[in-house]
């Protein structure tokens, strides 16, 4: 099996411990290597950030190495995005994200299930490739609720990206699909829990071992050198979303917060809070949804 293959997984322990072991601990270990492979903004995210009015403040929930914090490139400094992540090592990288010399970015160490913001404080929120790391439907729904709660009820905008079961032909990943389950029916919509291996490149491992052996002076043995050591592989947990699952999650989150899903013209009662789904699509092996808040 190639290290690019995806392995089927089941969440057997409680979701929080599962995420601690199979998501948080791994990102802290692979932070530097991971970050070196994640520098290109996805076009739809870049477009979303380019369309924001000057003076808006937003949250990047699960910012990773902070690659979206410097955007939009055509109007740098016109909006301010604050990056939140569970991995402290990734946040250290996110702090100086962008081309050199880069202004210091705002980053916060926290959980996407936390609610450490005054309600409705942000104008926009993005959550890119993050919610799929949460190990139960309930937890994924809470993560979406947190996004809805932290943006302005009258004008907030939200963009969410998650990994899809339906993979791009050009994708490097080989996913073992349960074709029977997929073709049986569209209800209920259930994604798939998997482990996605992260293989450290030999170069990266060598650097790490060399620096370690420097610390343990005299203990190095040439026969036990880094070349003979296979690079470690870390299995990250993902929930791959099925078609329609992200939209369902958004609807359930909105319902839990008594937020309508639709256009304001359909409602008459003053004080009604709602969201309009302005984009709902699939791109490059991911599902995404864009939401706009309204209040009447």
């Amino acid at each position: 099996m190639s290290s690019k293959d995806v392995i089927r997984a089941a969440v057997l322990d409680d979701p929080q411990s599962h995420e601690d072991v199979h998501v948080h601990a791994i990102y802290d270990k692979i932070a530097t290597h991971f970050s070196s492979t994640r520098y290109k903004p996805w076009p739809i995210v870049a477009q979303f950030l380019s369309g924001l009015p000057t003076g808006w403040i937003g949250l990047d929930s699960g910012t990773g190495n902070g690659k979206y914090l410097p955007l939009p490139y055509d109007r740098p400094g016109s909006v301010l995005t604050i990056g939140l992540d569970r991995s402290r090592n990734l946040l250290h990288i996110a702090r100086t994200a962008g081309q050199n010399p880069s202004p210091t970015r705002e980053v916060v160490w926290g959980d996407v299930l936390g609610n450490g913001w005054r309600s409705g404080a942000f104008d926009y929120a993005i959550s890119i490739a993050t919610i799929h790391h949460l190990a139960s439907y309930e937890r994924r729904q809470i993560a979406v609720e947190r996004l809805l709660e932290c943006v302005s009820p009258s004008h907030g905008r939200i963009l969410i990206y998650v990994w899809a079961i339906e993979q791009d032909q050009l994708s490097k990943r080989n996913v073992p699909l349960d074709h029977e389950a997929l073709s049986e029916s569209t209800e209920p919509i259930v994604g798939q829990d998997v482990f996605v291996p992260w293989a450290m490149t030999p170069q990266n491992v060598k650097a790490k071992i060399t620096s370690n052996s420097k610390l343990q002076a005299g203990s190095s043995d040439s026969s036990d050198g880094p070349e003979t050591c296979p690079p470690p592989v870390y299995n990250r947990y993902y929930h791959m979303f099925a078609k329609g699952e992200l939209t369902m999650l958004v609807r359930d989150a909105a319902k839990a917060l008594k937020i309508e899903v639709g256009v304001p013209e359909e409602y008459t009662e003053p004080g009604t809070r709602g969201i309009t789904v302005t984009q709902d699509g699939w791109e490059r092996s991911n599902y995404y949804v864009e939401l706009r808040c309204w209040e009447i």
Binding site: Q16, P53, T54, G55, W56, I57, G77, S78, V79, L80, I82, L84, R86, R88, L91, H92, R95, P103, T104, R105, E106, V107, V108, W109, G110, D111, L113, G114, N115, G116, W117, R118, S119, A121, F122, D123, S152
Partner: protein, 123 residues
């Protein structure tokens, strides 16, 4: 980093702590001044969404008394410059933020605030 713009958005989220949980109070802070590019339109447009009183208080706690106690109606360049400095150029690098209500301490280290809660504190 924790700048005052971020502080103006953060609130305590310990389980059951829902009143007087904003703003957090700075404690034993170390600050660093870093010049940032002035964008008057950015500052002017974000003004309506600030909690002015909380900002003035927080600025005082880090030693800056340049802001008037009431939000000025006129946003001339002088006011915008002062706001720009207070919001974007003062970096809190070490210390903590404490909730006035439940006294929970959110540490700040290397410019990164720790908003994580332990399992029994999560709402």
């Amino acid at each position: 980093m924790v700048r005052l713009i971020t502080h103006n958005l953060l609130a305590c989220h310990v389980k059951g702590c829902t009143t007087n949980n904003f703003p957090l109070q700075f404690q034993d802070v170390q600050i660093e001044l870093q010049e940032a590019e002035f964008n008057p339109d950015f500052v002017r447009n974000l003004l309506p969404r600030l909690e002015w009183g909380a900002l003035v208080d927080a600025a005082k706690q880090v030693g800056d008394t340049s802001l008037p106690p009431e939000q000025p109606e006129m946003t001339d360049d002088d006011v915008l410059q002062k706001l720009h400095h207070v919001l974007l150029e003062i970096h809190i690098t070490e210390g903590a933020m404490v909730c006035s209500n439940c006294k929970h301490i959110y540490p700040i280290s290397n410019g990164i605030p720790n908003m994580l809660l332990s399992e029994h504190e999560i709402g």
